[in-house]
């Protein structure tokens, strides 16, 4: 099953915790908002992604499985 980290950019406030917790997946743009690599999650990045999803104070991150929205 293909799984990806995604951001609800409307909910996102550019807090930036995700870029620290999932540095292999997330970098921030010139204004502090996350740019997420479109790669499928591996075992390592999957762990990072879950940590980022749980830590986001805006609840803006989610893991998508084959186009279906899912929780952490």
């Amino acid at each position: 099953m293909k799984r990806r980290l995604r951001v609800d950019i409307v909910a996102c406030d550019g807090v930036g915790i995700c870029a620290h917790l999932a540095s292999g997946l997330v970098r921030v743009d010139s204004w502090g908002y996350p740019i997420i690599e479109a790669h499928q999650l591996t075992r390592t990045t999957g762990r990072q992604a879950r940590a980022a999803v749980q830590a986001c104070p805006r609840r803006a991150l989610f893991i998508e499985s084959d186009g279906v929205m899912g929780g952490p």
Binding site: I9, C12, G14, D29, W31, Y33, V68, M69
Partner: protein
């Protein structure tokens, strides 16, 4: 310059099926100036014939015809309409669906939807009713800007006529309004507003064709697309496009055959050759005038040249006007029209517009400004909940490419466009 405009040359056959046989002129924010009169229901039926019923077996036939005619949406992406229709039909089941005619024309230069609403309201309503019947809709809605008084009056008149002159079997049609903002015509914003939320684009993972207004499968089509549905239902082909040619304060709406070149369309409408054209609307792409001779307004031809008809706007840049200054002006407008929901759009577009304004003023930093803008554009592209930021950066980046010589000239404190005039 730009005074007499003849009817676009056509064969008798094309004339019969055309939506607007003559151009419609608009000046500034004023109303339509045209010899065309709004069609009454009787005239409409005489001209186009009666609306075919689209229930039962006819529903599937209409959807097949939409596919064969290669009808596309007018939301900027020109997606095949049949994809949405099939998705709505499949998702509707017994719940029923909702069909929406989107007449909230956000593009400041566009007048084609207003012209259609005002002059051919029955064609739009026919298309909406066909869609409602074919997709088993429980609600049919026309979505307008709240200050679109002329369109609203024309539609109300048309709806009254339909009830009194015997279209009794038709589903009820409701008119709904959104604020007069650029983005209230964005399809996600329409769905959100009709569900009781604000008229702002939404972040969505499921398309509105599956889960739209109040969770029901929803078909949102531009009013022109629905007018084409009304023609397709009658067996006509989609061989023309409505475009708005804009120069200064003048806007001319034309129904042009798809094999017409951009050169022909623009020079016919304004009676002059501009120096460049912004193709597709304010979120479109600039092209120098000589590059447009071989491109027709058919979407495949435009796509092959990296263009799209988008909102159907051809914005002509008069000779002697600086393209960089015009692009900066448009960028500032688009930045101000951001819904302020997504960071990359809210902050990014403002940054791009400010830097573009400095670049247009000229000075030694011009080349660095251009590189900075291009880098920001790469960061912004594809990152909004809607495509507003994509269009804005596309317009700016294409300006830097098309007016590249002028970027260099601005760096030396000169301007090629203004020099050309003197």
């Amino acid at each position: 310059m730009r005074t007499a405009v003849n009817a676009y040359p056509r064969t008798a056959d094309q004339f019969e099926s055309t939506m607007l046989p003559r151009p419609v002129h608009y000046f500034g924010t004023g109303g339509a100036l045209t010899e065309l009169a709004p069609h009454t229901l009787r005239e409409h039926r005489q001209h186009f014939g009666a609306r075919p019923a689209c229930v039962g077996a006819a529903a599937g036939k209409l959807i097949d015809r939409i596919e064969q005619a290669r009808l596309t949406g007018r939301g900027g992406a020109h997606l095949p309409s049949v994809v949405k229709w099939r998705a709505v039909r499949a998702a509707a089941g017994t719940r029923g669906s909702i069909v929406v005619a989107n007449g909230a024309e956000g593009e400041p230069d566009s007048r084609k939807d207003v012209a259609l609403l005002e002059l051919r309201p029955h064609l739009i309503l026919d298309g909406l009713v066909c869609a409602a019947e074919a997709l088993g809709a429980r609600e049919a809605i026309v979505w307008l800007h709240e200050n679109a008084h002329v369109s609203r009056a024309a539609l109300s008149r048309a709806l009254t006529e339909r009830t009194s002159l015997g279209e009794p079997a038709e589903p009820a049609i409701r008119i709904a309004f959104g604020p007069d903002a650029y983005l209230s015509g964005e399809s996600g914003a329409v769905v959100r507003a009709l569900s009781g939320g604000p008229a702002l684009p939404a972040f969505r993972t499921v398309p509105s064709a599956v889960k739209g207004v109040d969770g029901s499968p929803t078909l949102v089509h531009n009013v022109e697309t629905l007018a084409r549905v009304a023609q397709v239902a009658r067996g006509a082909a989609c061989a023309s496009e409505l475009v708005t040619v804009c120069i200064d304060e003048t806007r001319i709406v034309l129904d042009v055959p798809t094999d017409a070149s951009l050169h022909t369309v623009v020079s016919h409408a304004i009676g002059a050759h501009p120096s460049a054209v912004l193709v597709g609307g304010w979120g479109g792409s600039w092209r120098a005038w000589p590059d447009l001779a071989k491109i027709t307004i058919a979407e495949p031809s435009l796509r092959a040249h990296g263009l799209s008809l988008g909102a159907g706007v051809l914005h002509a840049l008069p000779r002697g006007v600086c393209g960089l200054a015009r692009a900066a002006e448009i960028a500032r407008y688009l930045a101000a029209q951001s819904a302020q929901q997504c960071g990359p759009c809210q902050f990014g577009l403002t940054a791009v517009a400010d830097r573009m304004t400095e670049l247009a003023r000229g000075g030694r930093r011009t080349r660095r400004d251009a590189a900075r803008i291009t880098a920001w554009a790469d960061e912004i592209r594809g990152r909004g909940a809607c495509h507003h930021p994509d269009g804005a950066v596309r317009m700016v980046v294409s300006a830097l490419e098309v007016f590249a010589d002028d970027v260099a000239a601005h760096g030396r404190g000169r301007c090629l466009a203004r020099r050309g005039r003197s």
